[in-house]
């Protein structure tokens, strides 16, 4: 996980990538974007169907565990990328 400083504002944004399992249809991943996007402090969520990845830009105050939990609520298991 790489921490990035966004240039436009003074607030720091953390970029977290999760790898998920069980993606089986391209349209069902839309709800993951919605679920995770609803969390406070999450700025942007991108779900990649083919590689089963979820990219999240969020405030550093949002614990990664909360992101994983939000994905789980949408019905998918995910774990943060460590490498």
């Amino acid at each position: 996980m790489k921490g990035m400083i966004s240039m436009s504002t003074t607030t720091a944004t953390t970029h977290t990538v999760l790898r998920a399992e069980g993606f089986s249809c391209p349209s069902c991943v839309a709800k993951i974007e919605k679920r995770v996007g609803q969390l406070d402090g999450v700025e942007r969520v991108t779900v990649h169907f083919a590689s089963a990845r979820i990219e999240v830009d969020h405030a550093p105050s949002v614990p990664v565990a909360d992101l994983v939990a939000a994905v789980a609520k949408a019905g998918y298991a995910a774990a943060p990328v460590t490498f």
């Binding site: 069980g22 391209p26 349209s27 839309a30 919605k34 089963a52 990845r53 789980a72 490498f83």
Partner: protein, 649 residues
Amino acid sequence: MAGHLSGHLSSPRARRWGVPAASGLLIAVALLAGRLSTASLPGDVAMVSAAVVAGTPVLTKAVHALLARVVGIDLLVAVASIGAVAIGEYWEAAAVTFLFAVGHALEAATLTRTRSALAALVAVAPDVAVVLRDGVQVDVPAGQVRTGEVVLVKNGAKVPVDGVVVGGTGALDEASITGESIPVEKSSGDRVFAGTVSRGGFLQVRATGVGSDTTLARIIHRVEEAQDAKARTQVFMDRFSAWYTPAIMALALVAGVASGDVVLGLTLLVIGCPGALVISIPVSIVAGIGRAAKDGILIKGGEFLETSARISAVAIDKTGTLTRGRPRLTDVVVLDPALDRAEVLTWAARGEAGSEHPLARTILEAATAEGLSTPGLPEHTEPIPGKGIVATTGAHRVLVGNPALLEHFAIADVELAGRTAEELAEDGRTPMIVAVDDRVVGVVAVADEIRPDAATMVAELHAAGVRTVVMLTGDTRRVAEAVGAATGVDEVRAGLLPEDKLEAILELQRAGHTVAMVGDGVNDAPALATADIGVAMGAAGSAVAVETADIALMGDNLLRLPEAISLARRTVANMRQNITIAVVTVAFLLLGVLLGGVTMAIGMLVHEASVLVVIGNAMRLLRARRQRAAAQVAPAPAVGRTVPQSVGA
């Protein structure tokens, strides 16, 4: 199926099968109740419950999707089963939702398999490192090693970081990076990669890249990006399915209303599901790109796969690709009777000591190997582009280069030297005339060794459907033709400057070819960029190559190139098969519904079967590798991977 991520992923897997199991059980109860009792109520209740159990998740997904403005398969199935319950077709509703749930669980399980190649790569990521801190061995997470620190790699352990060997010797299995499983000997000065595995020995490695700054991390990242990058066909298909599903709903509505047959309308909804169609392309691409990565072949994405499948001409830079790129000294011709061979070679070495020309190193190494004292740097060194080099050493002016260099410095008596150089060049060698002050003392010649598998590669390129293989080189025509004849390339273009190489690529493109260009040198960059597909060889050592090449061959194995092209062709063919399967299935079902005989349950069964056939077809791409890999293990030792990389060590 072993989970590659972590243990807590097993619970959704249980959840995946929970729904179809519960709904299946309820259907069994309903059927049993129908047999045992004449009253239909208990059976109907069980049947509707089955539909509710299997249908609720579908409905939830459909609603979520609708909120995200996506009209998907879930909506089709949800509407169809609710409709079926409403008109009293409980069995149809239960069967459709049950089959859909089972199909989904199977899809999820098998789709994970098509991603297995990437999961395997992620799995080789190292987690722990043994670092030497203040002389003490400390275990730290691999990502927390600091660059510059020395890590220890023991037998059987994973290399935790990218780095350079600073002590010890050992053999590493670099399959995770290069796809070549034969262990490579490593000793001081050699580069090693995170995620490779020690097969013996003990290495001390100074870390140069850690965590996300390692070749393995870059490969994983590239493969993921590649799998997500959409092929042109897929962009079309996405646009198609965005319209397709609403169109099916409209068709079902019209058909149902016009015929007054609600069941017909609902059945159309079910069989119109584009399930197989929407995954037909991604599954093939994920499997194809993933498998390629396992073999040390990185393909930038679906679009590049499609282009690679059309490659009809391959342009290859000679040096470092067809040849080893490590020339050896072949001749020392003495032309000054007062000197002997060793003295001529010593003068050549002294002249070249300050040169950055690749051939200079060859001469210096040859002089060292023959035990000659190689002096330090000359006082002054000046390269004369296209001619050679002039150096001042110990009050002598030393010239090393071609006849033009001698003319440049107005040296008389060049005729014999010129003729000698000519003769050497005719044998495919690169001659360099050596002159000290105003006298020619001799000629040294070097030649680059042709790789043992270069001819096989050219033959396999032809077998893979490449019509013409062109060799591009800045070297002289004679040298180039000697290499061309030995390797069987179709065309030789010699004496090219970087811009000429680019022009050669453009010319091939104008002739209607889809051109791949293979190179490893900086001076190939314009040609690599111009070619339809730029291929980088031996990319493991170069972060730029991994990130920018259209196809990056991580290892140094030439035969990966034809393999990459034929894999691209197979993947694209696989994609087309999948689209055909999906379209034909829907067409047949449609016909079946209109002619009668296809019920909702049968429609769903066939539909889910077609989805699984499509996934299974894509998985063939993963399987085929193992057969080929087995066939290729045997001749591999002759392929030159076992030759030590560093000559001087």
